[in-house]
């Protein structure tokens, strides 16, 4: 039966049908739902690991132990996991092993748009590149089979538009037979990568990739769709969909396996059409290899290569419009009249993502903005501390970079005191070694660990600090403060995230110290169900407000400018949107005129004194 599944849901289903029993991943858009969905299937173990390298090691370990296993992560996670990926490519496995990399062309939710097909070539493993939900399902199963047939990890490379597009999928209703249980391998020549063994394995994996290239020549993963011979398109992944959409007449060589490539099939296809082009998203990954094969893919006159791809853009995701315009420019399609939609000259107010009303990160950012110190930020919801009016982040590179980059400034002798800001999940991910370095080498970095008790940005995933696992089991909970103290850091304080005064006092005190210090702001994400139960909208007493604008500067979407003006200064008064306000009291704390009621005052005003006692 066909059902509507996203690429991620379909990949999870495919893994289950392929007999994968173990999954380990780290959340990251657009990959997150794969492991979340897989975790719901019967007869599987699925977990969130603290980071991608740990996740891949765990999947490799399970595959060594004879269970089919996979790891999921976003593209940049593969950088973290790369060390593990390289040794796994060398050793091979006992049961199927698949690494899912969810790439993010156009960086909808990422710091770069690296093309992880390149990893396959670098590591010498096969790469499958599905073009829709059905293939996400089918290729996952194919990847496990390939892995066992060729004794290799397989890279299943997806992209945002495949992961997060829902389409019709024909699913199977049973799993492949599971591998027979066997004794853990004692095979040092294969699994102990000391130099003498590794040198032998290198030859084996080079041979393996040649065998895979031969397999690619006849594999149904690669398909030729012959239509008109005047134009042939070599394509793969999501770009296949744009090829079909924009060039309905063209012949197509669709590469489901984008590494290693079937050279004979490509030459045969190129020979059967008058003109051949390569249509792919991001890097000229296929195009480079096709040209090296001596295939004269068409390129417009005067186009310098290899400086850039010859027809389609190397940056950003493709869509039918981008493909059409590029093809028109290259003379492949006649120019259309309305190729450029009319645009308007109106300056519309932008709607940037912002910290939510009640966000526990807001208090610390308000103070950091006030202190004006350089802040080295990290990856998570709290990266939004960069947005106006808080403007409280100066750098943000990758997971865990905040503390190391702040340490770098300190050892470089920067005259300003640096503050690193990192969330709980990111601290567990790669922040811990960096903080250890601060302690060990005694730089004076102040680290704020914003512990909102969940992995927030990707939509509330459990982590080692939450006391619960991906599959909903209660578990041990990492205690951040004792962990930090165990590193030898003496100045450690834990405060509530909404305690503006407390945060300011602690940070100001530490500015005078020349020692490492760690502030943990601990407060649940305002969107967690347990937090939602405490929401209570605050109120502005308009008689007391004089429109001083201080509360506007906390950058809360629930605080608006009223149409009512202050009679003396003519400034708009503050107004709280009761449908958005959670009652975090940050605005009430910063108001110099006590014009914003605290929770207790709101309750008291409602005559609900009893409730206010309960809250105490």
């Amino acid at each position: 039966m066909k059902r509507i599944l996203s690429g991620n849901e379909a990949a999870a289903r495919g893994a289950w049908e392929a007999g994968a029993e173990i999954g380990s991943g780290y959340p990251g858009t657009p990959s997150t739902e794969i492991m979340e969905t897989f975790a719901l299937y019967p007869g599987v173990y699925a977990e969130w690991a603290p980071n991608e390298k740990v996740a891949l090691d765990a999947a490799i370990g399970a595959a060594y132990a004879g269970k089919r296993a996979f790891a999921t992560m976003k593209h940049v996670g593969v950088n973290v996991a790369a060390d593990a990926l390289f040794y796994a490519a060398m050793t091979g496995v006992e049961a199927g092993l698949v690494l899912v990399s969810a790439d993010d062309p156009s960086m909808h939710s990422s710091q770069n748009e690296q093309d992880n097909r390149q990893f396959a070539k670098f590591v010498r493993i096969p790469c499958l590149d599905p073009s829709d939900s059905q293939e996400s399902h089918d290729f996952m199963t194919a990847a496990f089979k390939l892995s066992e047939q060729f004794d290799t990890p397989v890279l299943l490379r997806m992209t945002t538009r495949v992961c997060h597009t829902s389409g019709l999928v024909e699913v199977g209703d049973q799993r492949l037979p599971l591998p027979e249980p066997k004794k853990y391998p004692r095979n040092t020549a294969k699994y102990v990568m000391v130099p003498a063994n590794a040198r032998k394995r290198h030859g084996i994996i080079e041979h393996r990739i040649q065998e895979l290239a031969e397999f690619a020549e006849t594999s149904p993963l690669n398909q030729i769709e012959m239509h008109s011979p005047s134009l042939g398109i070599i394509t793969g992944g999501i770009a296949y969909q744009y090829a079909r959409e924009v060039f309905p007449e063209a012949s197509i060589l669709k590469l489901g396996m984008v590494y290693p490539l079937p050279a004979e099939m490509i030459r045969r296809f190129a020979g059967a059409v008058e003109r051949v082009i390569v249509l792919e998203e991001l890097d000229p990954f296929i195009e480079d290899q096709v040209r090296l094969m001596g295939v004269d893919a068409y390129r417009p006159e005067g186009k310098y290569y290899p400086g850039t791809k010859s027809i389609f853009p190397v940056t950003g995701e493709l869509d039918p419009r981008v493909v059409r315009l590029s093809a028109e420019k290259a003379g492949l399609l006649p120019a259309t009249e309305h190729s450029e939609p009319e645009s308007f000259d109106l300056e519309l107010p932008v709607r940037p993502p912002v910290l939510c009303p009640g966000c526990p990160h807001r208090g610390a950012f308000y103070v950091l903005h006030k202190l004006g110190v350089p802040v080295n930020g990290d990856i998570g919801c709290y990266t939004l501390g960069v947005t106006p009016p808080l403007n409280a982040i100066d750098t943000c590179g990758c997971m865990g970079a905040s503390i190391g980059v702040a340490h770098g400034a300190a050892i470089a002798g920067d005259k300003e005191r640096h503050v690193a800001v990192i969330g709980d999940s990111t601290f567990f991910h790669t922040g811990i070694p960096a903080l250890m370095n601060v302690a060990y080498n005694r730089s004076n970095v102040i680290t704020i660990i914003m512990d909102n008790r969940i992995t927030g940005m990707t939509g509330h995933q459990e982590n080692p600090g939450t006391g619960r696992t991906l599959q909903g089991k209660e578990t041990l909970e990492v205690q951040i403060e004792p962990l930090v103290r165990a590193m030898g850091i003496q100045n450690v304080v834990t405060l509530e995230g909404h305690d503006v005064e407390g945060i300011e006092k602690v940070l100001k005190g530490w500015m005078k110290l020349d020692e490492p210090a760690v502030l943990i702001t601990r407060e649940e994400c305002a969107l967690l169900p347990s937090s939602r139960g405490r929401w209570l909208p605050l109120e502005v007493i308009s008689e007391k407000c004089n429109g001083c604008t201080l509360c506007f500067r906390v950058g809360c979407p629930a605080i608006m400018k009223s149409e009512q003006l202050d009679p003396k200064y003519g400034r708009p008064l503050a107004l709280i949107d009761a449908s958005l306000c959670t009652g975090c009291e940050i605005c009430a704390q910063v108001c110099p005129r006590d014009a914003i009621l605290f929770r207790e005052q709101v309750l008291a005003r409602k005559g609900d004194i009893e409730n206010s006692e309960v809250l105490k």
């Binding site: 657009p30 939710s109 829902s166 019709l168 109106l346 939510c356 939509g459």
Partner: protein
């Protein structure tokens, strides 16, 4: 384009602000398309957009759908759950496409902080009119309130869409029964009907 012809492809772009139910509306449209015998694709962007930013979802029905994305200038219908967002994405419409606008403003923080001004209705209407002569405004939030749940605003809009395009009601009703949790089905079915009626007024 003002009416739907059975079997004819349909390209819809849905826009709104995080939390407005844009994705569920788009899921319901996909499910309805499936029931009408189409191949369907529905593409959305998660992540940063959940934090109060603009949300865009693409929905395509056809005998076979390739690209999951509706290219700019190619949408038959733009459903805007927030009026500023409707104008922002109105260049996705083809020149005679339908803009279905929820007459509702969610003020962005750039406006509440005083850095920008929210355009008034005349400006919004004029802006959209530059892209299409075919705009239909509906007070979906009020209608959802009458139906008994503000969160059914998205389904009110689908009711209106079904009326304006002449889409079979039953496809949506079945979709609601498949996609919406049991305890919210009645209120959503009612909201759909109220949206359907309102669009005919």
């Amino acid at each position: 384009m003002t009416t739907w012809v059975s079997g004819q492809p349909l390209n819809v772009v849905l826009v709104g602000v995080g939390g407005q139910g844009t994705i569920l509306a788009s899921d319901l449209l996909a499910e309805a398309g499936l029931r009408l015998g189409y191949d369907v694709k529905q593409a959305e962007i998660h992540g940063m957009s959940q934090r109060g930013g603009s949300v865009i979802s693409n929905l395509r029905w056809g005998s076979r759908v390739f690209s999951p994305i509706v290219a700019r200038g190619c949408a038959d219908v733009l459903i805007g759950f927030e009026k500023l967002e409707t104008l922002r994405f109105s260049d996705y419409l083809r020149h005679d496409g339908l803009a279905l606008v929820n007459d509702y403003a969610i003020v962005p923080v750039t406006v509440s902080s005083g850095a920008a001004t929210y355009p008034d209705d005349n400006l919004l209407r004029e802006g959209i009119a530059r892209m299409t002569p075919n705009q239909h405004w509906i007070r979906a939030v009020e209608i959802a309130e009458q139906a008994g749940n503000l969160r059914t605003t998205n389904v009110v809009m689908l009711g209106a869409l079904a009326r304006i395009l002449g889409l079979p009601k039953v496809a949506f009703q079945e979709s609601i029964k498949v996609r919406v949790p049991l305890k919210y089905q009645d209120v959503n079915l009612l909201a759909f009907d109220k949206g359907f009626e309102a669009a005919g007024a």
